[in-house]
């Protein structure tokens, strides 16, 4: 598998401005906590976190494209690998893996074993059903929509609920063909 994915986000991450992850992690935790108080329903909190992620994704895609210099991906398989190896790395400093492809190559899982969002986090029993990391899948959904791929994301595994990894499924629903007004350099 390694030769098929020559790209990595290591060099980009080493060169971007970085901040203390503790601040980031605790801020996210405080947001989730406040949303649980304000929205009361866990399902509403999941939705709000996903929406926040989506809003972030539609902005971060520009920085991603500018800094990563990735060329157009040939298919959704390559897209998923680039998100996992370059996207996650350049923003969060960790790499995800891609697996569980369906036969059509339109649905796969992104799996995170090391996840800075959950350092110091423990969920009380009252938070059953909370997809704590919904913001991550929201970011991926938002970013992909900006490059004409409409997707649906679903959480499958969650270490905060006792699973052995974080896993969310990304399903490609529709690819909107792009019309370029300019001549592509490729």
């Amino acid at each position: 598998m390694a030769p098929a994915v020559p790209r990595s986000g290591d060099a980009i991450f080493a060169n971007v401005e970085r901040v203390n992850a503790e601040l980031f992690t605790l801020t996210y935790g405080a947001i989730v906590r406040q949303l649980l108080t304000d929205l009361e329903e866990v399902e509403e909190v999941n939705k709000q976190l996903d929406q926040m992620g989506y809003n972030i994704g539609i902005r971060l895609i520009d920085e991603f494209l500018a800094k990563s210099n990735v060329t157009r991906c040939v298919d959704f398989r390559e897209t998923a690998e680039v998100i996992a190896k370059v996207g996650f790395k350049m923003f969060l400093g960790v790499t995800a893996s891609v697996s569980n492809w369906d036969t059509e190559g339109t649905c796969c899982s992104l799996i995170l074993e090391d996840n800075p969002l959950v350092d110091f986090v423990e969920l009380p029993d009252t938070c059953q059903g909370l997809n704590y990391c919904s913001i991550l899948s929201g970011v991926v959904r938002g970013a992909l929509e900006m490059v004409s791929m409409k997707t649906e994301v679903t959480w499958v595994r969650d270490m905060l609920r006792g699973d052995d990894a974080f896993e969310f499924q990304v399903k490609l629903l529709k690819q909107v063909p792009e019309e370029y007004p300019y001549k592509d350099d490729e």
Binding site: R18, N20, A21, E22, F24, A30, D38, Q51, M52, F91
Partner: protein
Amino acid sequence: MAREVSESCMDSLLTEIVSSYCNVLYATKPELAARRIEAIGYQVGHQLSERYTMERPRFSDHLEAIKFICKDFWSELFKKQIDNLKTNHRGTFVLQDDKFAWLSRMSGEPSTETRGSAPEAGNKAAETTGMHLYFPCGIIRGALSNLGIPCAVSADISNLPACSFVIRIKV
């Protein structure tokens, strides 16, 4: 080495806290939105201050605690110290950061825009900037409260990109 994430991650979260609370959750109640944003900051400040003071002796007085905020605490958060500290020696402290990171990357300069031809857009921008400041104010209040110092914190941005945090200790 301590774990890090890209600065864009933190900036994105801050933008989303403000936009979620001001435009979605409490769109018609800005004062409630402000209180929630401050509460999120308070929580963060409280926890961070707990972590960063674990291995130190207790501060002997208010000034020592404020100095800790200006130096160690600020450095952990922004990789720089507070540039200027003033006090009236009666419980009020003014901490100035000459180039406050969380404002320097925000688009637009509200102070000039409000004088522009589109006052409403300017007011909106100023309001958004103001909302962004509840978060760091909450962080400072939370950090000091964890050190046993109840206080009120406000921010003054009349001198952008500098930002002054005014701490009034409750007696």
